[in-house]
Amino acid sequence: MSAVVFAPIESRPPPVATRGALAWIRRNFFDGWLNSLATVVTVLMLLWLVPPLFGWSIVHAVFAPDNAACRAAHEHGACWGVVAEKGRLILFGRYPFEEQWRPLLACAVLIALLVASCLRPFWKPWLAPLWLAVLAVCYVLMRGGMLGLTPVETSRWGGFPLTLALSVVSLAVAFPLAILVALGRTSKLPAIRAVCVLYVELIRGVPLISVLFMASFMFPLFMPQGTTIDVLLRVLVGMTLFAAAYLAEVVRGGLQALPKGQVEAAQALGLTYWQTTRKIVLPQALRLVVPAIVNSFISTFKDTSLVTIVSLYDLTGALQLALGDADWRKFFLEGQLFVAAIYFVFCIALSRYSRWVEAYLNTGMRRQ
């Protein structure tokens, strides 16, 4: 009997799918009766919705800040004139009109730095001090009172710069705080653990509105007579503590998902607790929860709109101010759409960026 010969089959490319636009359409839109039905219904819906929407927002719309024209076009055409007329009030709130170049400049610098910070070549040790410097410059620019700039009370800050400042500062402080709290909750020391649990549960158990109220109205009651803390600062502290509590739980989720063997291997190599945390634990734990972190960031960004209740006029608050004008009050929908579009642009940018971060941090996690 001769030996059985093992003849390996040569590797070959996978079969080529049917090409061409028609085949593609059939495969994606008319693949079975359910798919075909969904396609037809979707197309009908679009035919029903898009033309009127297009007519309302573009064809019959009034773009000039002409109140009479707007009133005439009402019902069948959008009045973007409200944005043209009230745009600066919506964007900058009650900030003195002639000085509005200052918040504009501050926003431009801050956004430029935000974008830069998102890019890999800028992840250098000098980025943190640069942030501190830029925030200080922005503060001076907005607050004035030196370098020949007219002082502007923080209570008069408003609109988009306020929204941006509240989100950026509260998230920048909340994120490191959240990491510390999450580490504290997993600490071996019962006292540290208790403090962190208490903090998270207290803050999470209360609505943000209550936190803002307490920060804004109750906090001063406990302060010695005569000392005043800026309302903006109080609100910032409130928002930061609130965001940090939620983020801490997100980070803790990542810490728990990390296999125990990773920490043991680091300990066996002689790495200290902080070295292990920085080099082994956090890079892996945070990678796991990027989507949840971004989720928290986005919701904090939008939650800044709640500061209206303590008389700070952020983007949505400034819109209400603008709509206080009886002539233009009718066109609140257009104003809301304008503000919504600004929020949307920022949220979608953040969300797209997080996809890139995930892919970047996934290096080495896939087998290929």
């Binding site: 296999p259 291997a265 300990q267 066996a268 190599l269 890079p283 290096t363 080495g364």
Partner: protein, 249 residues
């Protein structure tokens, strides 16, 4: 075993509990410098816990444990000093998946040993050559096979030039085809005179490389002997029973 020299590892009536469960019971063990020991026994007998006490991944609750002249207590400095001299290889490899093979190896020398990067990398490459895997230095651990990963883990443990190497079932998680490549590296290492404590059921390795086999059951050292004596003439019924189960097929 040289009786004149002080043992490098000394267990003196060491006990440990997991909650109410008495996992290590009055362990008495002296390991001479350069000695190669294989620890075997049924699952749950405390083998892994025993070697994990040596670098304080587990704390013992009574008795004294001295490693390289340093007694292991709550003193963090003592623990750090011991860990610098003790390398460990795990069943699940525990390589850091977010770092390349080379970065896995240079991490401890750079951060614990305060070695300049260039020097740490040279040293890492030397160790990778020693485990015959230098060409994979730039890859990430998950891109390697199990056997390759375990060899990287051995190289990583060797980068701090430890006096003692601990192996916790290093081949148990491997495909059968890859066990040998890891055992070969371990045999090489054994020949070079490093002190080794190895929890394994690879009896071939024990015969080839060990000076002494320790058999554990229920948290105690039941018997210990040279590999030849232990395999051919086990003294206790418990060891006979265990050997008949693992050697019968």
């Amino acid at each position: 075993m040289n009786d004149n020299e002080a043992p490098i590892i000394m267990f003196d009536k060491v006990s440990k509990w997991y909650g109410q469960f008495h996992v290590l019971r009055d362990i008495e063990l002296r390991v001479a410098k350069g000695e190669r020991i294989v620890i075997c026994g049924p699952s749950g007998s405390g083998k892994s816990t025993l070697i994990r006490c040596v670098n304080r991944l587990e704390e013992h609750q009574s008795g004294h444990l001295t490693v390289d002249g340093i007694e292991l207590t709550d003193d963090v400095k003592a623990i750090d000093a011991v860990r610098r001299n003790v390398g460990m290889v795990f069943q699940q490899f525990n390589l850091f998946p977010h770092l390349t093979v080379l970065e896995n190896l240079t991490l401890a020398p750079m951060w614990v040993g305060k070695m300049p990067k260039k020097e740490a990398e040279d040293k890492a490459m030397t160790q990778l050559k020693r485990v015959r895997i230098a060409e994979q230095a730039q890859k990430y651990p998950l891109q390697l096979s199990g056997g390759q990963q375990q060899r990287v883990a051995i190289a990583r443990a060797l980068c701090l030039t430890p006096k003692i190497m601990l192996f916790d079932e290093p081949t148990s998680a491997l495909d059968p085809e890859m066990i040998n490549e890891v055992l070969e590296v371990m045999v090489d290492l054994a020949k070079q005179g490093i002190t080794m404590l190895c929890v394994t059921h690879e009896m071939g390795f024990a015969r080839q490389a060990a000076d002494r086999v320790i058999f554990m059951d229920q948290g105690q050292i039941v018997e210990q002997n040279t590999p030849t004596e232990f395999f051919h003439h086990p003294k206790t019924d418990r060891a006979k029973d265990f050997l008949s189960k693992i050697l019968s097929h």
